[in-house]
């Protein structure tokens, strides 16, 4: 900042106004500067690049997979809220400074769901089941995580996720997705093979309670010395699996998972161990389609106890965005490209459903 005598010097005599040509040139320059700024802004905001893969495009595609998702999550649209606690063992403190890993008991608001775009989908149509948690430490730091029961994710990149979603869109002419489109997607995406193998062979069970839910994406635990440990985590059930053929499950009706959950919780809480798996050097942290070898060391971080189920429409989980990048200090995202995409896309999905619910409430004069 150059020294300036602000009030001492007399106002400078204005120089003569420019002539006509100079003035026209100045106008052109000003118009160009303003126009270029506006163009740069429009470019940055994607208005000039309709092909850019944006959160809005992904959410549009997710919204078109059948059913009426207005006012609901655009993926994992059918779910049920729960309340519980996370009983941290303290064993995680060697790996991460996260306050939720210090020995203690922390409240949880969570959600079970099936990975569908239709909030009324039949439970037997949900090959992928999920569990999301928000664990809050006494200092207010939060750990949010959405986990699936598959051992790997179906795709490695946001682009492939989008293509798969588009291939699953319902064709308005038939009311069903085009089977050829999905077949084509999988034929051209060999990275999906491990997921498909699981989807085909893994036994179906009667319950949310007997499933293992996996973070799939890698994260980093940061310890007190600042060292970073690549990890994935899983909720490992204590309930024994009750396997049944999918046809038998379908016969139980569209909401058998919810009924089973409520019946089990009426008898007592359900528990899972939250287990962190440590990567060895060279294990992929940026590719959720690749499992890590089974012999990797694990740490039992504590126990999730689910005590109460709540219908989603009035439950505590409804208005929570389980963005997996909402993490306490001591836990950080990895280089997995899905994580940033999930954060951006979940925010868009969340913004839509809160706006839709608000409109709905105004229209109906009641909160849903």
């Amino acid at each position: 900042m150059p020294p300036a005598r602000d009030t001492a010097s007399p106002p400078p005599a204005p120089p003569p106004r420019p002539g006509r040509t100079r003035q026209a040139a100045a106008f052109a320059l000003i118009a160009a500067v303003c126009g270029l700024s506006a163009t740069a802004f429009a470019y940055t905001g994607g208005w000039l690049s309709p092909d850019r893969l944006t959160p809005a495009r992904i959410v549009d595609a997710l919204s078109d997979r059948g059913g009426d998702p207005i006012g609901h999550r655009r993926n994992h649209s059918k779910g049920i809220c729960f309340l519980g606690t996370f009983e941290a063992s303290g064993a995680g403190t060697a790996l991460s400074t996260a306050s939720v890993l210090a020995r203690g008991s922390y409240p949880v608001v969570g959600r079970f769901a099936i990975a569908t775009g239709d909030p009324m989908a039949a439970d037997a149509s949900g090959r992928v089941r999920s569990l999301a948690v928000r664990i809050v430490a006494p200092d207010g730091q939060e750990w949010r995580s959405g986990m699936n029961n598959s051992p790997v994710f179906v795709v490695a990149t946001p682009r492939a996720f989008y293509e798969q979603t588009v291939a699953s869109e319902v064709d308005p002419a038939t009311g069903h997705p085009d089977p050829k489109a999905l077949a084509h997607f999988f034929a051209t995406h060999p990275e999906s093979a491990p997921f498909l193998a699981w989807a085909k062979t893994a036994p179906w069970t009667t319950s949310f309670a007997d499933q293992q839910y996996n973070s799939l994406n890698a994260f980093r635990f940061i310890d007190a010395s600042g060292a970073s440990h690549p990890v994935r985590w899983s909720l490992v059930p204590t309930a024994a699996p009750q396997v049944e053929p999918v046809a038998a499950l379908a016969a139980k009706g569209p909401d058998f998972l919810e009924q089973d959950l409520k019946a089990r919780l009426a008898r007592g809480p359900l528990t899972w161990h939250l287990v962190a798996t440590l990567a060895a050097p060279g294990d992929p942290t940026d590719d959720a389609t690749k499992a890590w070898p089974a012999d990797r060391p694990t740490v039992d971080l504590g126990t999730l106890e689910v005590t109460t189920a709540q219908d989603e429409a009035t439950g505590a989980c409804r208005d929570i965005n389980y963005d997996p990048t909402i993490l306490p200090t001591g836990i950080a995202p990895s280089d997995d490209p899905l994580l940033a995409a999930r954060s951006a896309v979940y925010a868009n999905s969340f913004d839509r459903r809160t706006a839709e619910l608000a409109r709905h409430a105004t229209a109906a004069g009641s909160a849903r």
Binding site: P18, S343, T354
Partner: protein
């Protein structure tokens, strides 16, 4: 005694905040239209920089109320005079409102307001769907309004500098005329 130029502190704040606010507008529209890893980096800058703008804006308004501003040229047509004052009010209003709305909409969305590391802000609004929806929409449209006002302001400043040459630009110029000569 009316000043003929904005004070060095006022000019320093003006240009620092001009850079910060323009950066925020571009970061904002850029981050909500990408699913690339840079999304996380951009949002991690957006929140603390936005709160920094809020603090600077409060300081700036305080300085402005105490120190005042140099008068506009006497020959400036009343309509332009009105436009200048109105647009400055809009700019001051939005540089306070935008960060407050950002903070409030995260609160209403039930998000922790994390500025980085352990630096967190308390919620300033209840966790509420309808409120989050209104604030989130306002954050977008007021950002567009802010951008348009900045462009108009930029155009007007250049008009003063290049066409009217009436010394208005000098009142805010980061350099001083004496040094330049």
């Amino acid at each position: 005694m009316t000043p003929t130029r904005f004070s060095p502190l006022q000019r320093g704040l003006h240009w620092l905040m001009a850079a910060a606010i323009i950066a925020m507008l571009f970061i904002g529209v850029g981050m909500v239209t990408t699913v690339q890893p840079r999304y996380l980096a951009l949002i991690a800058v957006h929140k603390p920089l936005g709160i920094a703008i809020l603090l600077l804006a409060l300081l700036r308004i305080g300085v402005r109320l105490r120190r005042g501003a140099p008068p506009l040229p006497a020959d400036l047509p009343p309509i332009q005079r009105f436009g200048a004052h109105a647009s400055h009010l809009v700019l001051y209003g939005l540089m306070v409102a935008m960060p407050l709305i950002g903070w409030a909409m995260l609160s209403a969305g039930g998000y922790p307001v994390v500025l980085g590391g352990v630096l967190r802000l308390p919620p300033i609004a209840p966790h509420d769907d309808a409120l989050q929806a209104v604030l989130r929409t306002a954050h977008t449209w007021l950002a567009y309004a802010l951008f348009l006002t900045v462009i108009a302001h930029l155009g007007a400043a250049l008009m003063h500098a290049l066409i009217r040459r009436d010394g208005v630009f000098q009142t805010m110029a980061p350099w001083s005329r004496a040094n330049r000569a």
